[in-house]
């Protein structure tokens, strides 16, 4: 093999013969060429332009080395963001917070921040600031929800009622990327159901560093993410007489996706059904069946055709688009948060998936709670429905309360209520009653459904207050 193969490989990659000759004076394998990098190539007398060209053509390896460089740069950014996670108080905010403490009131931080942002640059006396806080507190207190309010029912109504106005079968193209995502009522139901896999999983992956600026780098990142199957980069033919499959890789497509012959062979060898059957020469790969059976050949054929050469499992498509700030980002069909976060050039902090359970698995329950809020709010806004975020928060908090994402329904919250009667009244009546009898359960009649069943006032609102007025005798 050695030099001749390398020469051929270079030529098939579109490197001019003269350049290839020159390269071979110093390097003997593609790997060594790519490892040398642009500088290394320039040393042997190539112009920068040509060197760059060669490196890109040699493909994936080159991108890896640049990716490594990016990774270092990325580490730094990452650290910065983590340390900056807490809100940095401005001088005005600090002043107001001190006053707040002094006055013995507690306002939501957002109010303080809002007041502070307006005070900035204005000349307001401390006395007035104190007054501002006092008045703000008075307003805040009058806007607070009353104790014993049935906040839950309010939230349920606020989410359920707009459901009737939503559209079924609504799909929506996220951005210009032409990725379909479920929207409308089906999506809302999906969120509330806490489905393991959404019907249209999708990810939104902003890029960072060089990848966000340069389309070429961005594209390389997207090829790291998008699943490349063998059929994407090669044509496959089945040779029945010789019981083998012949794979003709398409050099252009391979270059585009940064795949080398070696990668393909390596990958094919990893597939269980093909292990040990793969052989190759310069331009084609042959997979020969070890048994003279058509059944086996069929198995091999399927395995070859479905073989994943590159990319991340579950992500069938990755489309590059620009975000609002004119930076590159990737939108995908399919979701695999854990793996995508490992890819260099991906802005980890801002990467999102619409699969809530995946968020819970990878980032934890708090993240899942935020994901539920984000997705539900987004879905409702998309349909043009205005729902106060507090209602959605309550649903999300309930769903994630015990550290796992629980569904709204008989397998989740409603099936785990402490009251037997409430469970029986919801769904699967008889088994709940029978089990309660067997376990000797006690219903303390604390909830709404149970009390309605036995015909008593519910424990919410006016029913929650247990005050009885006994007039003094003789007062009349």
């Amino acid at each position: 093999m050695a030099k001749k193969d390398t020469f051929n490989a270079l030529v098939t990659r579109g490197v001019e013969t003269s350049v290839a000759d020159e390269l071979l004076t110093k390097f003997s394998t593609l790997k060594s060429i790519s490892e040398a990098g642009v500088e290394g190539l320039m040393e042997i007398g190539l112009s920068e332009e040509v060197a760059n060209d060669v490196i890109t053509k040699v493909g994936k390896r080159a991108s890896r080395s640049t990716a490594k460089k990016k990774a270092e740069e990325v580490e730094v950014v990452h650290m910065e963001i983590v340390s900056n996670k807490h809100h940095e108080y401005s001088d005005e905010e600090k002043k107001l917070l001190a006053m707040e403490e002094e006055l013995g009131i507690k306002l939501p931080l957002k109010v303080i921040v809002d007041i502070a942002s307006r005070l900035e640059g204005a000349d307001i006396s401390d006395e007035k600031c104190r007054e501002l806080l006092t008045v703000a507190d008075r307003m805040y207190q009058s806007h607070r929800m009353d104790p014993h309010e049935s906040a839950g029912v309010m939230a349920a109504h606020s989410l359920g009622e707009p459901g009737t106005q939503m559209n079924m079968r609504t799909f929506h193209f996220s951005g210009v990327a032409n990725i379909l995502t479920t929207q409308g009522l089906p999506r809302l139901i999906e969120i509330v159901d806490a489905r393991r896999i959404p019907s249209t999983p999708s990810m939104d992956i902003p890029l960072k560093g060089l990848a966000a600026e340069d389309e070429k780098v961005a594209r390389l990142v997207s090829y790291e993410i998008e699943t490349t199957s063998l059929l994407n980069i090669a044509t496959v033919e089945t040779d029945i007489t010789n019981m083998r499959m012949i794979i003709h890789p398409d050099q252009r497509k391979m270059d585009e996706r940064g795949v080398t012959m070696a990668d393909i062979i390596e990958r094919l060898n990893k597939v269980k059904a093909l292990r040990g059957l793969v052989s190759s020469d310069d331009f084609e790969i042959t997979v020969t069946s070890d048994e003279p059976s058509f059944k086996k050949l069929q198995v091999i054929s399927d395995a070859v055709k479905n073989a994943k050469i590159k990319g991340i499992d579950g992500i069938s498509r990755a489309v590059l688009t620009k975000d609002r700030d004119d930076r590159w980002k990737i939108i995908t069909e399919g979701s695999n948060l854990k793996e995508v976060l490992k890819v260099d050039g991906v802005n980890n902090e801002k990467t999102m998936t619409n699969s809530i359970l995946e968020v819970a698995d990878v980032l934890g329950i708090e993240a899942a709670r935020n994901a539920i809020i984000r997705e539900a709010f987004g879905t409702l806004s998309e349909a043009g429905l205005n729902v106060d975020i507090r209602h959605i928060m309550l649903v999300a908090d309930l769903m994630t309360n015990d550290g796992y994402v629980k569904a709204i329904g008989r397998h989740g919250i409603s099936g785990r209520k402490s009251s037997v009667l409430a469970r029986a009244a919801f769904e699967i009546t008889a088994p709940h009653l029978l089990h309660a009898a067997m376990n000797g359960e006690v219903d303390h009649l604390e909830g709404v459904a149970e009390n309605i069943i036995v015909g008593q006032p519910v424990t919410l609102g006016t029913g929650a207050v247990n005050l009885i007025y006994t007039p003094k005798k003789g007062d009349e």
Binding site: R118, A156, H157, G160, N178, N439
Partner: protein, 961 residues
């Protein structure tokens, strides 16, 4: 009123032991018959009168009460052989699989038992479910069952299988003559299935000690495992299964009775056969039959058991079916109950009553009554009511008196009126007719949110429909195409007081969903107010006063007299509207008619779309939907929040009155003339559409040549389709825009030049632009072009092979062939277009039908999951188990209803209040997002969807019970 209300503290669940069943039973049922020839219950038959009676002429032999008074007593059937209870088949299987074949101990060692017992006791004390732990026990034991010997007696274990629902099978290992384990070739033990009889199962269960039962999920305090196998069957009292006498005099028995008859018959036969020493096979067959009948008696839908059927072939409704599902006891009779003092009839509109009133037909007012305690102040009135009797309106139907501690209800009749009046004394209760001012609950289904049930004041009116103010249509989602609504009359003072302070219409002007008004002006109110308040509208002073009088602004507590003085000149509409506004109201906002110009001219807006209210005077801008419409009214929103619900109610009542006066002054009319545009405009539009269609043809040509550059990740076909949809969409939009250019509301300003005859006063456009009804999209569809029809999210595909209709060539991809409607509604659709339009329309209908059921189920689940959550006094949200769900509600404790467009407080208000005039520099009125858009988008979009029915890809899977 009568002392402490809470009576039931808790409910304990448990199984009944055979002894308990025998103990509570009043009669042992032995005969499978019901009544004899004379129609009397047969002794120790299923209708034995010791079980209670239904016929009021008979007396219960147990308690001595008459039929109707006696609530019934249980009997019992002694089963000849034990029978497994269907509901417990699975549990019995799990328990047997977890216990030793020989000694009946649980297959855990002593340490494990102790550990689990402790954990479970802990959980039980905390009131939590032990289910998960029990599952763990089952799992551990299941593994041991097949692999290990009993940790207590060391016996080899036999596996237990179940054939659902109730056949328990022991998998016995085979031994040869020498006692050696027989194995298959591969070394697995040779086994034989052995069907355990219910008696054997019961014996096995009996061996389980109490402590072991506890870890297996059977609480020994209330249940024993063997009680899951029945030896004696309780027979429910006849009141539970009343027989019905048909018109023909035939008796028809309840399904449960039928089933009990079956059980008794087989039971008797089994006893007879056993006594006669019949062969084992026959006994076993009968036993199986008994098991079948008992099984279906409990649950006639158990999987693997053919349902028992009535003679007519209808499956019987047995115990489980009575409880289950939507029509079952739980959901239909316990969670919701039928009530008296309610009425239902068709609704119709009445703009002359207040928003918190409801017009009640006299006929209904005479039927539903209010219990009134007689006292010093109302005795005369009530006496008069009684004298009026039940058939004259302010009358009374009953009088309730308490004589010697016994309550008596006297019906007011023609001949006893005088007597009743004579005897009427303080403390009696008169069931008087509903009269004006009474408070009632008004409701329209589906009751999706709390605004679906509000308290109204009664206005007794003639005719037979409920009347309601148009402003309350949005919260009820009511219209008058035949909708019916329900009314409930409160029967206690507490309920009335609660309703009055919590449920009245004015308390619900703001929706807790988005913190904006959901009750507000609609339709003509909006166009009326616009026509009244737009620039240039004036009325003669006399007319102005007439309007003031007609809209009840004279002698109105909220209208200062100083505004009602003669001006000796014509009044402007703005001056009239200003009368409604509180004198210290200041605000400015952009009206619905705002054209969203690039630079806003504010007060100088040429469309009069910038509203300025200064000290309660409307100085600039016209009133439209954004001012006081439902979902979006900004003035209304401010008034409710700043001046309270009563003021807001008055504002709404009066402003709608005034708007109606306005619309009657100016007049409003609409017709197809409104959608007329000049000939040349039509030509431009047609040219435009033709160009677009040509462009589509060009795209198709490019595609057919194979030159179409596919979009990344898309095939050429998909790309073509997307491009075509895009081109046609744009074409329709431009066509609409062209038409819109000619559709103006009328003369906007003095120097406005318009030459088209029809543009002088275009009320259709007025309605669309002010947000009263319809949208510009609707109008342009009428005028210019209807646009692409969609089925399943794309252009129309279905129909014949490779084409939608036989009018086209196979594989034709052009605009027309796939449902593009070039025509406008006004010019008329050609047959092909009409057909495509109908296709789109049908899909919309189907979609609506599917949507309601799915969203209904989602809401039921949401409510069921969230109903127990409440805000506690410490600001946290907790459920019934006192688990904290949120430490502070919504992270800031703010009530969404009271929030300012979702924000905690209004910064501008804060600064104005504290700093006064100095605050001006710090205010951000322009960026003010108070009620920004509330639901305006939502309405547009709804209408858009209704019209376009652009529905997309289908998703089939549907979950319901």
């Amino acid at each position: 009123m009568k002392g402490i209300i809470k009576k039931i503290d808790r409910i304990n669940f448990g199984l009944m032991s055979p002894e308990q069943i025998r103990e509570m039973s009043v009669v042992k049922i032995e005969r499978p018959d019901t009544y004899d020839e004379d129609g009397y219950p047969i002794e120790s038959g299923l209708m034995d009168s010791r079980l209670g009676v239904i016929d009021p002429s008979l007396k219960c032999r147990t308690c001595g009460e008459k039929g109707g008074e006696c609530q019934g007593h249980f009997g019992m059937i002694e089963l000849a052989r034990p029978v497994i209870h269907v509901g417990f088949g699975d549990d019995i299987h799990k328990i047997l699989r977890s216990t030793c074949t020989e000694c009946g101990r649980v297959l855990l060692d002593d340490d494990e038992i102790e550990e689990f017992t402790e954990k479970m006791e802990e959980l039980q004390e905390a009131g939590e479910s032990v289910e998960d732990l029990v599952k763990d026990v089952y799992k551990i034991c299941k593994d041991k069952k097949t692999k290990e010997v009993c940790p207590h007696c060391g016996a080899e274990q036999e596996d237990i299988k179940i054939v659902k629902p109730i056949d328990i099978i022991e998998v016995r290992k085979q031994y040869d003559e020498n006692g050696e384990l027989m194995t298959e070739e591969d070394g697995t033990p040779l086994t034989e299935d052995y069907d355990l009889t219910a008696s054997e199962v019961r014996e096995k269960l009996q061996r389980i000690p109490d402590e072991d039962a506890y870890v297996l999920g059977v609480n020994p305090e209330v249940a024993r495992p063997e009680w899951m196998v029945l030896t004696v069957l309780p027979v429910p009292p006849v009141t539970v299964r009343p027989s019905i006498t048909l018109d023909t005099g035939e008796r028809s028995e309840d399904d449960l009775t039928h089933k009990l008859v079956d059980i008794l018959r087989i039971n008797q036969r089994l006893i007879e056969n056993m006594d006669a020493g019949a062969p084992q096979l026959i006994v076993e067959d009968l036993w199986k039959l008994l098991q079948y009948h008992v099984t279906t008696y409990f649950d006639n839908e158990a999987s693997g058991v053919p349902p028992a059927r009535h003679r007519s072939g209808r499956p019987l409704k047995t115990l489980a079916q009575r409880l289950k599902g939507k029509e079952g006891r739980f959901r239909s009779n316990l969670s919701g109950k039928r009530v008296n003092f309610s009425a239902r009839t068709v609704i119709s509109p009445d703009p002359n009553i207040s928003i918190n009133e409801v017009g009640v037909p006299e006929m209904i007012a005479k039927e539903v009554t209010v219990p009134t305690y007689v006292n010093e102040w109302n005795i005369e009135e009530l006496k008069e009511a009684i004298l009026n009797g039940p058939n004259v309106h302010p009358g009374a139907n009953y009088v309730k008196k308490t004589i010697n501690g016994k309550e008596m209800k006297v019906r007011v009749l023609d001949d006893n009126r005088e007597l009743v009046v004579e005897n009427l004394e303080y403390g009696d209760v008169v069931m008087r007719h509903l009269k004006d001012g009474d408070i009632v609950l008004f409701n329209r289904q589906p009751s999706l949110h709390r605004m679906s049930m509000m308290a109204h004041e009664v206005r007794v009116l003639p005719y037979k429909t409920f009347r309601l103010n148009l402003c309350v249509c949005p919260p009820y989602n009511a219209d008058f195409d035949g909708d019916e609504m329900n009314m409930h009359v409160f029967q206690t003072d507490e309920s009335r007081a609660e309703a009055k302070s919590l449920m009245r219409v004015q308390e619900h002007i703001l929706s807790p969903r988005f913190g904006g008004p959901i009750i507000g002006a609609i339709h003509d109110h909006i166009s009326g107010a616009y026509l009244l308040t737009r620039d240039g509208f004036t009325v003669r002073e006399d007319d102005a006063f007439q309007m003031i009088r007609k809209s009840h602004l004279l002698n109105n507590e909220y209208v200062d007299k100083k505004h009602l003085k003669r001006k000796n000149r014509d009044w402007t509409g703005k001056e009239l509207f200003s009368l409604l506004l509180p004198d210290d109201l200041n605000m400015n906002y952009k009206a619905e008619i705002c054209r969203k110009c690039e630079t806003c001219l504010k007060e100088d807006c040429q469309y009069d779309a910038f509203v300025v209210i200064k000290d309660g005077q409307l100085t600039h801008g016209a009133i439209d939907e954004a001012a006081y419409g439902s979902f979006s009214g900004k003035i209304l929103d401010t008034i409710v929040k700043e001046y309270g619900p009563s003021r807001a109610k008055e504002f709404l009542d009066r402003s709608t009155d005034l708007a109606i006066c306005g619309i009657m002054k100016t007049g409003i009319t609409t017709g197809t003339n409104d959608e007329e545009i000049p000939e040349e405009a039509i030509e431009v539009i047609d040219a435009h559409l033709d160009k677009a269609e040509q462009e589509v043809d060009k795209l198709i040509a490019t595609y057919e040549e194979g030159l179409l550059q596919p979009l990344p990740g898309r095939s050429a076909e998909e790309t073509l389709e997307m491009r075509i949809v895009q081109v046609l969409g744009e074409a329709r939009d431009t066509a609409g825009e062209i038409a819109e250019g000619y559709l103006t509301m009328g003369k906007q300003s003095q120097d406005d030049s318009y030459d088209y005859v029809m543009a002088v006063e275009n009320h259709s456009v007025v309605m669309a632009r002010t947000g009263a009804r319809a949208s510009m999209l609707n109008l342009t569809q009428i005028t210019a072009c209807v646009g692409q029809q969609a089925v399943r999210g794309g252009r129309i595909e279905r129909g014949y092979i490779n084409r939608t209709l036989p009018h086209f060539k196979k594989g034709e991809l052009g605009a027309k062939a796939k449902g593009f409607v070039h025509s406008s509604y006004k010019s008329g659709l050609d047959p092909i277009e009409f057909f495509f339009h109908a296709m789109g329309g049908r899909e919309g209908l189907v979609d609506t039908a599917v949507r309601t059921s799915r969203s209904g189920y989602m809401q039921r689940r949401l409510v069921s999951a969230l109903e127990d959550l409440k805000l506690t006094a410490d600001g946290s949200i907790r459920n019934t188990a006192d688990t904290i769900i949120q430490f502070r509600y919504g992270e800031d404790g703010t009530d969404p209803t009271r929030s300012v467009g979702g924000k905690v407080i209004d910064m501008d208000d804060l600064f104005t209040e504290v700093l006064g005039d100095d605050a001006d520099a710090l205010l951000r009125l322009d960026s003010r997002d108070v009620g920004e858009d509330y639901g305006s988008r939502e309405k547009d979009e709804m209408e858009y969807f209704e019209e376009e029915n652009s529905d997309y890809e289908s998703e089939t899977e549907y979950e319901s019970e």
